[in-house]
Symmetry: C2
């Protein structure tokens, strides 16, 4: 059954397919809608997924602090949700978002995946690199909130 | 120091930033180079990452079988690596690939993320849906190899 809410229309049958792990968490790949850039991998428990779907903004669960964490609450780097998908065996989700503010990463990079381990042939066709890298003062609330997650 | 090998050029300093978890694994987000589609989330240990970088094809670690697993070995659904990135705190990687064969998923979908939990506003601008869904006989080697991972 599909239920409408503001702003995410949820398919409850698909939602019930999500399998949270022994720690109660599922990895969430956050991908930017416009460019397809993978912004971050964070973790959700059932409550953070519920809040994400109800609010239309990403909520995660901090493994280090063991608490719910509304992304961008203090920094303004909010992620507005376009779509949430679950994989074939239900143990990972993809959240397609519009990233606001200065980006997804507490280091100041637009994406958390700013560092390249290795480059293969034909990389010019690969996905765009993070489109901007900005500096942000160390020790901001957002940095405190996101480090180690 | 950057070392060249065939076909992946590896930055050893960045490679050393990867932090494998208590189970020796790191989640790997596999993203298609051409469309940016997130194909799957799988897991790598140090040895599977090494083999991936040395061979230019994805190798994962099967949590259910506790063994290394060369993606597409039997099905031909090989993933050729364009780029490997690591995130800010080293506990997740992104592997940008060219997907060959019938796709990444043992269900026959091109992407493992074929099911939509929820849809928000403006979804027309979201990333492309899996570009094709094919049927494949149940019980093939690839299905056996990939289920539950």
């Amino acid at each position: 059954m599909t239920r409408m809410q503001n702003p995410i229309a949820v398919d409850d049958a698909v939602l019930s397919a999500v399998r949270f792990g022994e720690n109660g968490l599922v990895p969430a790949v956050v991908q930017e809608a416009e460019h397809g850039t993978v912004l971050t991998v964070a973790y959700m428990n059932a409550e953070s997924l519920r809040r994400t779907l109800e609010s239309g903004r990403t909520w995660f669960f901090s493994r280090s602090r063991q608490e719910l964490w509304p992304k961008g609450e203090t920094s303004g780097a909010v992620q507005y949700v376009r779509e949430v998908r679950v994989d074939c065996d239900g143990d990972a989700i993809v959240v397609v978002v519009d990233q606001h503010g200065d980006g997804a990463c507490h280091t100041g990079s637009w994406s958390c995946f700013a560092r390249v381990i290795g480059t293969g042939p034909g990389v010019a066709r690969a996905t765009p690199a993070p489109r901007r890298v900005i500096s942000r003062p160390a020790g901001t609330d957002e940095q405190r909130l996101t480090e180690e997650d």
